[in-house]
């Protein structure tokens, strides 16, 4: 292979080996084609290396996107949604606790006051976590969080004023401060906490669809298909143009592509299946139950408001009817939606069924508050709200809320296990694709450069 024996093209590059070694008497067209073989080889090499790297970059990006979305689901979005629900529950419980405490006595038991303090500390801690968390992506959530940061101390300030007045022996003034505190809770704190919860749920839903979304995966597979076609055609072309049956480099590239595609498809399908399962049987019922819990707390809070509202004629009886229909367990209700989503026979399913039964009897106890309130029967109305004996509104509320809380806990475990399995399936995909793409690039470059070298 010397320079004197090698025909040169116009630009001085070596002609293809096929042209040099091929049979004589070929047509001019073929001669023209063969004259460009090294250039074609170079082009092919560049194209295949670029496609390989593109596969690595895009496939890796897709894998990392899904993997990080799946991780965020369990590591960020689900916990923030949980924090938001807990914050709402803590504020609602704090207000009910402190208000009913002073309905029972002007000097409440220390344990009850500590319960209130515990709720406030919990709400503050959740608020801080939510502020540090991902809520910054939502303007509405940020505004609501800021309002909560400003208003929570205002609320606790009014409660402190009330406690001070009660302890000094001025229960009426203390009571009016408790009213002002309750107004702050019901008009500012709880609506804003609800906004945060709604926004966090929206973020959770967005992360879920991002983790399980198909479009980028399909785009990656289309890219893989295009790369595969180019690889195959390159090998066929090489087989025709050379006497080699196959190019080891291109075979290596093809195998790397095949393995990475199969891996990514299988990993993604497994993750998707896990995540869907977690969302359908964990996250989804947990969200229905969380909404039911918020409504249950509203019903309880409204009943307490109904008792402490001694002027005017306002009654929350209509709101109660609406809220109880929404909570269920009747058709189209939140408890029914949760029951339908639970895995049959699971502890969570049993808890939701128990919650449904408990809710029905609690409604009866809670409904008497309004009957008594409308008759201005303060003593029995107050007793119906603060009474703790079995069958009372307060006791029924505690059992129902406990069932719902436990079911949410179980659902969250179901979701976390499934989502973690999904995230685990997605985790290795990015390094697999990147490694495969490097092998493909190296294989393509190596295989084609060996052919190209034969022209020198």
């Amino acid at each position: 292979m010397t320079a004197t024996l090698t025909p040169r093209t116009q630009d001085g590059r070596a002609q293809s080996g096929r042209a040099r070694n091929g049979p004589t008497g070929r047509s001019g067209r073929r001669a023209a084609a063969t004259a460009t073989t090294p250039a074609t080889l170079r082009t092919l090499m560049i194209v295949l290396v670029l496609l390989s790297l593109l596969w690595g970059a895009f496939g890796g990006w897709v894998a990392s996107q899904h993997s990080s979305a799946a991780s965020a689901l369990t590591g960020v979005d689900e916990p923030l949604s949980l924090d938001a629900r807990q914050m709402y529950a803590s504020i609602a419980d704090a207000d009910v606790t402190i208000t009913t405490a002073f309905l029972v006595s002007s000097a409440p038991q220390l344990a009850v006051l500590q319960h209130y303090q515990f709720d406030i500390a919990g709400a503050s801690a959740d608020l801080a976590k939510l502020q540090r968390g991902g809520a910054s992506e939502s303007q509405a959530a940020n505004a609501a969080l800021q309002t909560l940061v400003e208003s929570l101390p205002v609320y606790t300030g009014y409660v402190a004023d009330a406690e001070s007045e009660y302890s000094l022996g001025f229960p009426l003034t203390g009571g009016s401060f408790l009213q002002v505190a309750s107004e702050e809770a019901h008009l500012v704190l709880l609506p804003n906490a609800n906004t945060v919860f709604t926004q966090e749920n929206a973020a959770l839903a967005a992360a879920s669809s991002q983790a399980t979304g198909l479009p980028t995966v399909i785009a990656a597979l289309v890219l893989a298909l295009v790369t595969a076609i180019v690889l195959l055609r390159a090998q066929r072309w090489l087989t025709r143009r050379t006497n080699r049956v196959f190019s080891a480099g291109l075979v290596l590239a093809s195998l790397a592509l095949l393995i990475s595609v199969v891996w990514i498809a299988a990993g993604f399908l497994a993750a998707r299946s896990n995540l869907d399962n977690g969302i359908d049987h964990g996250s989804s019922p947990a969200q229905s139950l969380a909404q039911a819990s918020i409504k249950v707390q509203q019903i309880r809070g409204d009943a307490v408001l109904n008792v402490i509202s001694r002027s005017g004629g306002t009654s929350f009886s209509t709101d109660f009817l609406t809220a109880k229909a929404l909570v269920g367990p009747g058709s189209g209700s939140l408890l029914a939606a949760a029951a339908a989503a639970e895995t049959g026979g699971s502890p969570a399913a049993n808890l939701v069924a128990a919650a449904g039964q408990q809710a029905t009897s609690w409604y009866t106890a809670n409904g008497t508050v309004y009957t008594l309130g409308n008759a201005s029967d303060y003593r029995h109305e107050r007793d119906a709200v603060i009474g703790t004996q079995a069958g009372s509104s307060a006791a029924g509320y505690k059992v129902l809320e406990g069932d719902i809380e436990s079911a949410i806990g179980d659902d969250q475990t179901t979701f976390e296990n499934a989502a973690s399995a999904g995230a685990n399936a997605l985790d290795p995909l990015e390094p697999v694709v990147i490694t495969a793409s490097l092998l493909m690039a190296i294989g393509s470059a190596w295989g084609l450069s060996r052919r190209l070298a034969e022209y020198r």
Binding site: T173, R310, S311
Partner: protein, 388 residues
């Protein structure tokens, strides 16, 4: 801070509220801005451009402001404030009505009237259901306990406390010479007449204030009946339930042995009809009659702790010389009016009421006391929140 919180509440309320139906026929079309807030609107305004320049009648809001509610506030509104306000601002007319505090709150909540008058502050329930409502103090009132005992000398006051009154209203004390009453009134020749307790049959701020006093002084009463604009009175022989402050007065006038609770704005009518009024024990156990001094003393201790929305119970406060049943008379108003003209009219009247209207030439007729300056400032801040 208060303003921020109110805006938050109103932002929430905006989503809840479907709009106020202004059923009152208004002659507000010609209204052209507010005397209080329009600056530089007058063509005649030259260099200052301040609201001081806007005093011409042509710049005043115009229309009719409807009011209903407290019968205790009614005499002041109907006989003194409405004519004086109209005389000063001929383009505006105040139309008060006499229905009871509970109706005042309800009608203002429903947007049936521009202003509801109430002796009781808005309850949490009212406010949560109607987050745009404000309760704005207009003046200080007190409640009297009147009785019809012609045999007693006019310059003497029967001394009563919450426990004895609770005993009368729960039926355990039935005659005026009961030992419990005599114990408080050594030296006073109490007649053996049967006691005829009078209560309000309508939802009433007076009932709210009176039962508040019973509740704070008598734990048993509080646990059994509590306090409110309506309460489930225990059955008491001879008890009479009547509607409105005027009817309370006339009933008591016509019934020897009567005891009743009524606003201080009806005290002149009571004394001129020969009725007596009680000296009530305050928190310190000191018997006090309602005078400008004892009322102002009672309120003074609450001024610094009054919250921005001015919801506060001043019943049986810490003042050793204060009269125990004192309260703000509230205007219940929506912060969201149907239009700016209506908002301007209401703001103009309320601002007038807590400034010019708080003068002794008006309040003196009904024994009300003016708002302390700090409370008036909070009221002004609330009035400023009224808009459309």
């Amino acid at each position: 801070m208060a303003g921020i919180r109110r805006r938050d509440r109103l932002a929430v309320a905006a989503g809840l509220r479907t709009g106020v139906a202004a059923l009152v026929v208004l002659a507000a079309a010609a209204a052209c801005g507010t005397a209080a807030s329009t600056s530089g609107a007058s063509g005649a305004a030259t260099s200052t451009g301040t609201s001081d320049a806007v005093t011409a009648a042509s710049q005043e809001p115009a229309g009719t402001i409807s009011e209903t509610g407290s019968s205790l506030l009614y005499p002041l509104l109907a006989d003194y404030w409405a004519p004086a306000f109209h005389a000063q601002f001929p383009s505006m007319t105040l139309k008060p009505a006499y229905t009871g505090s509970q109706t005042g709150i309800a009608d203002a909540s429903a947007g049936l009237v521009d202003i509801g008058a109430s002796d009781a502050y808005l309850s949490s329930g009212d406010l949560v259901k109607n987050p745009t409502l404000l309760n704005i103090p207009l003046a200080i009132s007190a409640q009297t306990v009147i009785y019809n005992l012609p045999s007693l000398p006019a310059d003497k006051h029967v001394q009563l406390d919450g426990e004895v009154l609770a005993g009368i209203y729960n039926g355990t004390i039935t005659t005026w010479d009961d030992k419990a009453i005599e114990k408080l009134n050594a030296g006073l020749a109490l007649p053996p007449d049967p006691i005829v307790p009078v209560v309000r049959s309508d939802g009433s701020g007076d009932t709210f204030l009176f039962t508040s006093y019973l509740s704070t002084q008598d734990t048993t009463w509080n646990n059994a009946y509590g306090y409110g604009t309506t309460v489930k009175w225990p059955p008491v022989q001879r008890e009479m339930a009547v509607k409105g402050s005027s009817k309370v007065l006339t009933t008591c006038e016509n019934t020897v042995g009567c005891i009743a609770y009524n606003g201080i704005s009806y005290l002149q009518g009571a004394t001129s009809a020969g009725l007596g009024y009680a000296a009530l024990d305050n928190f310190a156990g000191q018997p006090t009659t309602p005078t400008p001094t004892t009322i102002a003393d009672a309120v003074a201790s609450f001024v610094s702790i009054t919250p921005p929305n001015e919801t506060i119970s001043m019943i049986d406060g810490p003042s050793t010389d204060g009269y125990p049943i004192v309260n703000f008379e509230y205007a219940i108003v929506s912060a969201r009016q149907p239009d700016t003209a209506k908002a301007s009219e209401i703001k103009a009247f309320l601002t007038w009421a807590i400034t010019t209207g708080n003068g002794a030439q008006f309040l003196g007729h009904v024994e009300f006391e003016p708002l302390p300056p700090a409370v008036a400032d909070l009221a002004k801040a609330q009035i400023a929140e009224i808009g459309s």
